[in-house]
């Protein structure tokens, strides 16, 4: 067990424990961290970065003041400040003081941001950092090339999603070259504090992004439509929305916990000549399955377009 710990001084302050592997991560037993001592930096302060920050703070994985965030507009950072993070407009400064750095800017902004950091006086001290990239479509090889100016840099590519904010996130991750066991322990601790995670080969990460990264938006659309249907049939909006969301949440939990096939679960709700099968027929008539597949496909292909240039 000791050989997995590359930073011995952390053994004293960080409780570690073995957890029987949940069936949402790899099969081999993996040591889990219950707290993370490293300083966490966010370059970019958008919705996803906020979701990750809120998730790890809510689960008490870190103290808010371990978090440093930078953004060009200091006004945007009020929310972070209120939650206890340290804020700055200087990307390079944040990168220097953090051990683990989330790259959370829009893809087209990253090259220039890195160039500016390279030129900064802080650049010489940016060594041995673990970079966690949440940029959609951005390949590991491209990131490694871009970050090669920083000595000892390791990259893990992540595909997270915003429900991390409520502890029900869904993230895929893919380590680059030189990523250590301890790095992966940190990544898993962060991701499992906020939901489930899976290590994946890079060639399917865009597909996962279409499914779990963009998927929430598809589900919001479906929940809104269910709510509209309820209102159409006489329910009050507030109740219709609450019931639509609760119903869908319950169904998803059934899939996750019963290990039954979705088709079988559907069969169990559809009594002969009943109300549910009548409704199902409308969904099939409306080719909903095909449209949802189209959505996942189109989204994955767009990710390839964005990152593959």
């Amino acid at each position: 067990m000791l050989k997995l710990m590359k930073r011995p001084h952390l053994i004293l302050s960080c409780r570690t424990f073995y957890v029987t592997p949940k069936n949402n991560c790899e099969d081999e037993p993996i040591e889990r961290l219950s707290c993370v001592e490293e300083k966490i930096g966010f370059i970019g302060d958008g919705n996803m970065a906020k979701a990750i920050f809120k998730g790890i703070v809510n689960k008490c994985l870190i103290q808010p003041n371990q978090v440093n965030v930078s953004s060009p507009y200091i006004k945007n950072l009020d929310v972070w400040k209120e939650m206890g993070a340290c804020v700055s407009t200087d990307n390079a400064e944040i990168m220097e003081i953090s051990d683990v750095v989330f790259l959370a800017v829009k893809p087209h902004i990253l090259p220039e941001a890195i160039k500016n950091i390279e030129k900064s006086p802080h650049a010489a001290n940016i060594k041995n950092k673990l970079f966690l990239s949440i940029l959609a479509g951005y390949k590991i090889s491209k990131l490694e090339k871009m970050l090669s100016c920083f000595e000892g840099a390791r990259v893990v590519r992540l595909m997270p999603n915003t429900p991390m904010m409520v502890g029900a996130g869904c993230t895929a991750f893919c380590p680059g070259h030189g990523v250590t066991e301890h790095d992966l322990m940190i990544v898993r601790a962060i991701l499992e504090a906020t939901g489930i995670c899976h290590r994946v080969p890079e060639n399917i990460i865009n597909a996962v992004g279409a499914l779990s990264g963009g998927g929430p938006a598809f589900v919001y659309l479906m929940i809104e439509a269910l709510s509209d249907g309820g209102v159409r049939m006489g329910m009050h909006r507030a109740m219709a929305s609450k019931f639509a969301a609760q119903t869908v949440m319950g169904a998803a939990k059934m899939v996750l916990e019963t290990n039954k096939h979705t088709g079988q679960l559907k069969d169990e709700v559809c009594s002969a000549g009943g109300t549910t099968i009548a409704g199902m027929h409308e969904l099939e008539r409306g080719r909903v399955r095909g449209s949802i597949m189209n959505a996942v496909e189109a989204s994955a292909k767009r990710a390839d377009q964005l990152g593959g240039q």
């Binding site: 959609a136 999603n161 869904c170 919001y220 609760q246 709700v269 409306g286 996942v296």
Partner: protein, 285 residues
Amino acid sequence: MTSEGTKRFEELKIGFIGGGNMAKAIAGGIVKKGLLSYSQIYVSGPRMHSLESWQSQGANVYTDNGTVCEICDVIFLSVKPHILPEAMANICMNSRHKIRSKLFVSIIAGIKLEALENLFRSFDSCRIIRTMPNTPMMVGEGCTVYCPGEGATENDVKIVRTILEALGICYMVPESMIDAIGALAGSGPAFAYLMIEAMSDGGVKMGIPRAMATQFAAQTMLGAAKMVLESGKHTGALKDEVCSPGGTTITGVHALEKGGVRAAIMDAIECAATKSAELGRRHVS
């Protein structure tokens, strides 16, 4: 004076007339939450062999509905709508005079309170509460509405709420809303399973192994639903927050809109609600 009014919840005996999936979900949820044990659960059905799974859990099984009604304090009516007359006949056959001061809880789609009260009018001091539950009760995330009948007491409502809240959320509603809600919360899970399967199929098409695709699809749906319930934000606003300009998600959303998914989902709710009303009219006058 009702005899079970003086009993504590833990002392109650709960019966099920009809042992199908929904009854299993309710009984399973009650036991999982530690409210009662299977030894306090009674179920009856026409064929003993279809009650085997109940028996193996420790529930008391019968082929005689009347016996279950005699023994239990609270009895769930969980047969299919068209079976109800036959089930009632079976109850009345031997036990009509022995069944008094019971609370009947109906989970039968479409059968109105008035019709149920007519059926039980000749029973001494029996009260009815009509509910529309759903199967995710089995995993503690059910969504149920209930509507108390004329004679139902505060204690009756308290018992029903205790059961339903152990299994998810519940609301009291006027009976006029039950068909619409049944379509949404009762049938909704099936619609959601279709959507999860389609998301998983999309993932598999793009190269994700099936088990991971299904798990991610389900977790994504769970997370999104939780965001709606906990963030207090409008579904449209939440959708906007995921859709970056020119990004991957808005491209996917466009595909859903092109496919008319919203309208198809509304059609499904409309159709299920209309069917529910139709079933109610057809089976019991």
